[in-house]
Each structure stands twice: as C-alpha cells, then as structure tokens.
Amino acid sequence: MTLVRVPPVLRTEAGGVREVEAEGATVREVMEDLSRRLPALGSRVYRAGELQPFVNVYVDGEDVRTRDGLDTPVTSASTVILLPAMAGGSSASPAGRRFRAAEPPSAATCRP
C-alpha cells in the first residue's frame, strides 16, 4: 500500500483525513484504486484516465510530469502527494464581496 497525501482543500472528499492508502505499481494504478476506494476524491484528481491539469502529483518529491506521467512507478514505500495550487496569502477578509463588485477585470478573483 502506498501513502497518498491529501491536500487540505480535498480533505472533505477523503473523509477529513490527511493521508489515505491506495494500491498500485504505477501512478495510474494508484489513481484507479483511489477512485474505487474514495470516488469523490478520485474524481477530483483523476478523470477519464487523465490527471486533472490543476493538480500536481509528486512521487517521492518528484513531479510525475517530469518523469513518466501516469506510468511513473510507485512502490509501497513511496509517498504520493496530491497538490493543487493554493491562492491564500493576504487573505483580505472581504475578498468575495470585494471582487464581486464591478471592477476592471484584470485581477479580480477567480470566483464570481
């Protein structure tokens, strides 16, 4: 079994836990297994046989995009990290409200 680190934004889909286990000899197999065990989490990161483009997957600290992608080998000793970008920083409290106002579009928030 390989340890899969779940990012905070996807913990709800993983039942609130920080790490889950999945089985497989490659990233693809781990993703398939993850999708069976935790479909809600699986579908967020892996859909139609592809990794979602906004989620980075690291095996033992290496981005699988720089290795063999879904064919990157995984062992039971490996740690797989799922990592989407996080925006938070300045965290201006009225972010949602502020950006909903009609403003020049160049740097408002992603969200409506």
């Binding site: 905070p8 920080r18 290496e62 981005d63 740097a107």
Partner: protein
C-alpha cells in the same frame, strides 16, 4: 641581531614585488589590502578585499582557497605587504606578490581608488547582530540597505514579511494593498493593530515599519494590482517581489510581469493549517506557470476568508518568505529555487518537492505564447 631594516631588505629579496602594470596583467588575481581598518576607510584599490595583516594567516584560506591563485598584496608603502607575501609563501601560496609602492604610489599616480561605504555608528549598533555573522557582515548589511523589495499584500503573509524586512534594514519596501484594516485581520495580521482599525492597510503597515526602523523608505500603493497599474508600479524599481496575494489572477499577473522584468518572486501561500513557499527566479528556475499551469476550479480554491487559516501560519510562512528575501538581497545561502517547501502546522512537518522549468511554459519556456498581459480573470475562470 637583525634590525627591522635588515629584515625588510632580506624579505624583499625573497619575495616577488610587482608594479601596478605587472599586477594588472596577472590573470585572475585576488587583490588584498592588508592595512588597518582606519586606512581602508580612507580609500582602497577597486575590487580589493580587506584582510588586515593581523588576521592574514587565519583568514587567507577562506578568502583565497586555491593556493595557486595569483595574489597581489598591498599596504601603504610595500613594507608590510613584503612580509605578508613571505608569510603566504610559507603557507603554500605559489604566486603571492607585493605591490611596489603600495597604496601611496597608486594614489599618487592618479590611479582609481574607491572610498568604502560604511555604516554609521547608529546603524552599527542597530544591525550589530547581523554584523557579527560572517555571511552578512558590513558588506551584507549595506546590500540589505540598498535593496528594494515589493510586497504584494499587507495581510497575513505581508505582515510578518514587512516587519522582518524592515527590522533587517531593507532600504526600501513597497506595499501594494487596497484594503482597510478590520477586526477579523487582527487574529494574524500583526502589522496592524486596534489603533489602525478602519485605516488603509498600507498606511497601517507603513506606520508599524516606521515605528520599528526609520532607515526604511516605505512606498505605499493603495490599489489592487492589475494589468493596468503593474507596469507603473514596477517602474519604481524593485529588486525582488514577495508575493502574498490572496487570489489566482494576481498570482499569474505577478508571475508574468516578473518573468518579463526578470525580478525574482518569493512565493508564499496558505490555507487552514498548510503553507507553500518557493522562489521563482526568472530564467534560472521554474516560474509559477511551470509549477501550476492552470488554477484549480473555484470550489477547490477557497480563500482564507472562506476556509479559515490558523493565525500563526501566515507568521511562519511569511517569515520563511522573508528568510528567502533576505538571503537573495544579501546574496547568501541556497535560495529555495526549484524546490517547493510544504509546511503542515498540524503535524509540524516540513516536506519538499522538486519543481522544474517547463520547456513548454507559455511564459518562460523556449517558445513563449504569452508575451503580454492577458485577461487574468478570464484565464482563472476557465
């Protein structure tokens, strides 16, 4: 019994003495000024390293590790440097030379000299704990005082960053933020206080910085960073950006501008108990688009306002960013380039993943397809 004169004459006969012209022709030579500190303060040769005679034996190997390097030693009149050259020979240096006529002749012949910049006694006291660190010292502190750092956001990450950058003596700090200080900020945004509630964050942060260190010139931009104003703001001249933005369009906007302007970005982001830190060094390491080619959908990108954040987390992550910024400004250490540091406050665990340049990156890749500002809201809303 040997007199000083005799010893000097004998030593001069044993060492290599070169004149200014010969010394200039020595390839890869390291020039060492062995005079006392007060003599150095009154001017020295350009590019020379100051190693007082009394510390020569103990420090030379750190300054000139390769003993086959050409070394030109000088003092005021080529007497102390003759003894110094002999000493270096005894230490195994094969090409140590004494500069004939020393600094006095050099200056008399109208050659270029440099007046060293030094810290005032007040600054010497304020930054004494930096001056004691060999990696920083006076030269490093002067670099910090000459540095200009732009902060994106005066919130969670920007607060510790602004305070520690100011305390470190970063000479100019720019702060961009359009927000007003409110009560919910005070759980983590330590640059603000009850006294500045209701005032613009940039003014509040400026007040905190100035109360801490009057050496710092604070430039405030009470506006939201957009494609329309970023060129104007960058034209004010910034060596380094500390990004503590709270939304993806700004992150991508800052990235693109930093690549085009060749300005390193110290990136930090936080959510609940976890943080990410890295340094994007344009054309030397990956950029934000290499790391995250596209932002996650809205439901996977809650802000701290929506998802919450442990108050101390931005303190930790913002301080890590400041550590990187100070290293970059002083030119020391190993910057966090090509590495993404992940911090989990609940587990108290740091981990690191490698990030690489993407040769197909639309901004910093081999054949860029994005060469001017795009509609960042639209890009992030796709």
């Amino acid at each position: 019994m040997t007199t000083y004169r005799e010893l000097l004459q004998r030593t001069k006969g044993e060492i290599s003495e070169v004149d200014a012209g010969e010394a200039a022709g020595l390839e890869g030579a390291v020039w060492i000024d062995i005079r006392e500190a007060d003599e150095w303060q009154e001017g020295h040769l350009p590019g020379a390293v100051h190693v007082p005679r009394g510390h020569l034996e103990s420090r030379i190997e750190a300054v000139v590790p390769n003993k086959d390097t050409e070394v030109v030693l000088y003092c005021a009149a080529a007497n102390r440097s003759a003894f110094a050259a002999k000493t270096l020979g005894e230490l195994g240096y094969t090409s140590a030379h004494s500069l004939a006529g020393g600094f006095t002749d050099w200056k008399r012949n109208g050659r270029e000299i440099v007046m060293p910049r030094t810290l005032s006694p007040e600054r010497r006291t304020r930054y004494s704990r930096h001056l004691l660190i060999p990696e920083i010292g006076e030269a490093g502190q002067l670099k910090l005082l000459d540095s200009r750092v732009l902060l994106i956001g005066a919130g969670g990450l920007g607060s510790p960053a602004s305070l520690y950058l100011a305390a470190a003596g970063i000479g100019r700090i720019g702060i961009i933020d359009a927000d007003i200080v409110d009560e919910t900020n005070l759980q983590r945004q330590v640059a603000h206080s009850l006294e500045t509630l209701g005032t613009p964050k940039v003014d509040s942060a400026k007040r905190s910085i100035e109360a801490l260190n009057p050496d710092v010139d604070v430039v405030t931009y009470r506006e939201r960073l957009t494609s329309e104003n970023i060129e104007r703001i960058l034209a004010d001249g910034w060596d380094l950006i500390v990004d503590g933005a709270d939304n993806f369009p700004t992150r991508y906007l800052v990235n693109d501008a930093s690549v085009w302007h060749d300005i390193p970005v110290v990136h930090g982001s936080i959510y609940r108990f976890e943080g990410q830190v890295t340094v994007f060094s344009p054309h030397q390491g990956p950029c934000y688009r290499c790391l995250f080619p596209e932002p996650p959908p809205a439901e996977l990108a809650p802000s701290c306002a929506e998802g919450g954040v442990l108050g101390v987390l931005p303190g930790i992550v913002g301080s890590l960013q400041t550590n990187e910024a100070i290293k970059l400004a002083a030119g020391i250490g190993e910057p966090l380039v090509g590495r993404l540091l992940l911090f989990d406050a609940l587990a108290t665990e740091f981990s690191e993943v490698r990030i690489e340049r993407n040769p197909n990156c639309p901004v910093c890749g081999e054949h860029p397809t994005i060469t001017e500002y795009v509609d960042y809201v639209e890009f992030c809303a796709r």
